[in-house]
């Protein structure tokens, strides 16, 4: 390479230096990192709240806090984990950093809108967080804001709701940007059917973001209007119907779970071929299944409302479709497994993360089948079984994939490798802790312990203790993992461009990438996963 002197995106000096340079950047890579660090901060906040909740639940009765505090904690925990961590999650961080490179573009289609998305994200986050300190105290509605409780409580619901609205806007703009990018900026020769799976999952995600988010946006606005102006929409005293609120909320929030998981599945679909040294098995099937998840996932929202008093016919339809939407996920798991067959597997850290993902994702998905079935959901709805289901699949799925992506692309981002041994040890501890926290929750749920309980009956104590202990193990693991990665930016690690011999375009350029990504836009002549 001749142009070795071209500055990479980290060293590059624009009009402004230092922090200001970052805050005014329109470089997708820098924006990706802005997202990453802000997101890690919110994740750490949410996680600390989780740990505090577990401490409170270590025994029946009051341990640390009053009921009001506990209720505010799980609300903020849910809000920040969902809206600030996993919904933007993989898409905003790695979608931003990797998507343009992996399809051979210099940037996203609308770089300035991209920066705007990040600002909206931060503004939304600030509004949500200040709702904790302003008004009549932190909201205590749960992240679902169910009416009419959210209309009656004296706490500061309006700010939290408006914050979520702004966050939704940010999410919409990201989706819009990515879709346009994929339509317009693929490298010459990269037809749709040569686009890497990760890009495809972002494409499917983008559509859900565009078409589902506005519905929750307007719903949250209605809640705000109802509280501020007394416009009756959901309060039965004013003629409204609380169940309609649930319909609208889940019309978004079920598709939203696929916003969380699809890019995560994309990451796994990138990692597995790289480390098995062979093309992904069933490329077309994976694409179809992504689109199918996005599409069918739009029509299953009612499975969150099986006990709400919905009509019998609706329960039938929603349960049926919930089972159908499990099929594309099954197809994905089978294809990942088949990719390993006759490969030449390299047991490196990102690969282990991918395997961890598949394992916990399966448990989460299977428990999804239990709650998707009518007879059983009547029993476990709103119990710890559901809490276990979604931690397994949200934290286990999206969270694992997020860390997998960090371990896979970290060398791309910083041009250095981390200490693999420490990373593996961290993963081991984390994985163990993870299962110790959340598996007991399945048992608690089957025994009938309802969720959002500040206090519980003595017979539930044993498993709660186990779960709390698990949370300490997991923190240890996570701290090891994160410090190991952060240290690898400078201190340790040799400098490399491509530690994994990756097949996709992002590995064909320097690490860290130069500002324009490619010195010359590549011409694509084959599918994405071809090994010599």
């Amino acid at each position: 390479m001749e142009n070795n002197h071209l500055p990479n995106y980290l060293e590059y000096r624009g009009k402004y230096k230092g922090l200001l340079g970052w805050l005014t950047t329109t470089d997708h890579k820098r924006i990706g990192l802005l997202y990453m660090y802000s997101m890690l901060t919110f994740f750490a906040t949410g996680a600390v709240l989780g740990i505090l909740m577990r401490l409170e639940l270590i025994a029946p009765g009051k341990q640390l806090m009053e009921a009001q505090t506990y209720n505010a904690l799980f609300t903020l925990h849910g809000l920040s984990m969902i809206f600030l961590f996993v919904i933007p999650g993989v898409a905003a961080v790695f979608g931003n950093f990797i998507l343009p490179i992996i399809i051979g573009a210099k940037d996203v289609a609308f770089p300035r809108v991209n920066l705007l998305s990040w600002y909206l994200y931060i503004i939304g986050a600030i509004i949500v967080l200040t709702s904790q300190f302003m008004g009549d105290g932190p909201p205590d509605t749960g992240w679902t804001f169910y009416a009419p409780y959210s209309l009656k409580t004296q706490t500061n619901v309006v700010a939290a709701v408006l914050g979520a609205f702004v966050l939704g806007f940010s999410s919409i703009l990201t989706g819009l940007n990515f879709i346009t990018t994929m339509h317009r900026l693929r490298a010459p020769g990269m037809g749709w059917m040569r686009m890497p799976i990760f890009a495809w999952t972002l494409y499917a995600t983008g559509w859900i973001q565009l078409l589902a988010t506005p519905i929750v946006g307007i719903t949250l606005l209605m809640i705000a209007a109802e509280r501020l102006l007394g416009i009756g929409f959901f309060d039965p005293a004013l003629g409204g119907d609380p169940i309609l609120y649930q319909h609208l909320f889940w019309t978004y929030s079920h598709p939203a779970v696929y916003i969380m998981i699809l890019p995560a599945m994309g990451v796994i679909s990138e990692i597995i071929p790289t480390f098995s040294r062979k093309p992904i098995f069933g490329y077309t099937a994976l694409i179809i299944s992504s689109m199918a998840i996005a599409f069918v996932g739009y029509f299953v929202w009612g499975h969150h409302m099986f006990t709400s008093g919905m009509s019998t016919g609706s329960r039938w339809i929603f349960s049926f479709l919930s089972f159908i939407v499990a099929l594309p996920s099954a197809v994905k798991v089978f294809n990942w497994t088949a990719t390993l067959y006759k490969g030449s597997i390299r047991l490196q850290t990102p690969f282990w993360w991918a395997m961890g993902f598949i394992f916990v994702f399966m448990i989460g998905g299977f428990s999804g089948l239990v709650v998707g079935s009518l007879a059983t959901d009547i029993h476990v709805h709103d119990t710890y079984f559901v809490v276990a289901h979604f931690h397994y699949i949200v934290f286990g799925g999206t969270g694992f994939a997020f860390f997998a992506a960090m371990h896979y692309w970290w060398p791309k981002i910083y041009g250095r490798v981390y200490n693999a041994k420490i990373a593996n040890i961290g993963l081991g501890i984390f994985f163990t802790g993870f299962n110790i926290i959340y598996f007991p929750m399945f048992i608690l749920g089957m025994q009938g312990m309802p969720r959002r309980y500040y206090d519980y009956l003595p017979q539930f104590e044993n498993w709660n203790v186990v779960s709390t202990i698990g949370s300490w193990i997991m923190v240890t693991g996570l701290i090891i993992i994160i410090t190991n990665l952060l240290r690898a930016r400078k201190a340790t690690g040799k400098i490399v461009d491509d530690p994994w011999d990756g097949p996709t375009l992002e590995w064909s350029i320097k690490s860290p990438p130069i500002v324009e990504n490619f010195e010359e836009i590549p011409v694509v002549t084959t599918g994405p996963y071809e090994f010599k």
Binding site: Y12, F233, L238
Partner: protein, 206 residues
């Protein structure tokens, strides 16, 4: 290479991308109102009689005039694009200006319409509203919220058109580069599109 900003915004200009982006945004807006249409359909289904009676409080001529105003304004933006394509800058500016003025007239109408309701003590949270039957209450809640949100969109559309007007004036928008005009136009049609449904749903239903 001067600034990071330049390095990335100087990518080749892509009007098709801009248009695609606008369309995607329009889809979002459609679903934003879509949420309200869901609410409307459900409550209408639950309170058919109340909705029927409540709509008689609204003035059909007023609604009709506003509908026609919006339709005409839609035609004027469309024609301003035609003018632009033909290279007739003046004409194009006239048409944009006409659209903005029509929008203003629409809002003034709306102001009087809402105003007369307010005078009668009909506004969200008022005592009179609280006395209504539940179905009536829902009808007027929806009426104020949906037409209110629509009015907000009119304001946004007007702002876009005014910006476009000056961009044309400064020759930033020209006959070989009129994506902004086209996109403001698309947005304006969306506003019209939504009104096409709001009008029968609130003013005409039986």
């Amino acid at each position: 290479m001067e600034t990071t900003i330049n390095a990335h915004t100087d990518l080749h200009r892509d009007d098709t991308a801009a248009k695609l982006g606008m369309w995607l945004f329009i889809f979002t807006e459609i679903l934003l109102f879509g949420g309200l249409f869901i609410v409307y359909s459900v409550y209408r289904y639950l309170n058919p009689v109340a909705f029927h009676l409540a709509h008689e409080e609204l003035s059909i001529p007023m609604g009709l005039i506003n509908t026609i105003i919006l339709l005409v304004s839609s035609a004027t933006v469309a024609m301003s694009i035609t003018a632009m394509q033909k290279g007739d800058k003046k004409m194009s500016m006239y048409f944009v200006a006409a659209t903005v003025i029509l929008a203003l007239v629409f809002l003034i109408n709306k102001y009087f319409e809402w105003g007369s309701k307010f005078e009668h003590g009909m506004y969200p949270g008022s005592e009179l509203m609280a006395l209504l039957s539940k179905g009536d209450m829902l009808f007027f809640s929806l009426y104020f919220f949906m037409t209110g949100l629509h009015a907000v969109h009119i304001l946004v559309g007007m702002a876009l058109l005014i910006v476009t007007f000056f961009r044309i004036k400064q020759n930033h928008v020209r006959s070989d580069k009129y994506a902004l005009l086209e996109n403001s136009g698309l947005y304006w049609h969306l506003v019209d599109l939504i009104w096409i449904f709001l009008f029968p749903l609130f003013y005409l239903i039986h």
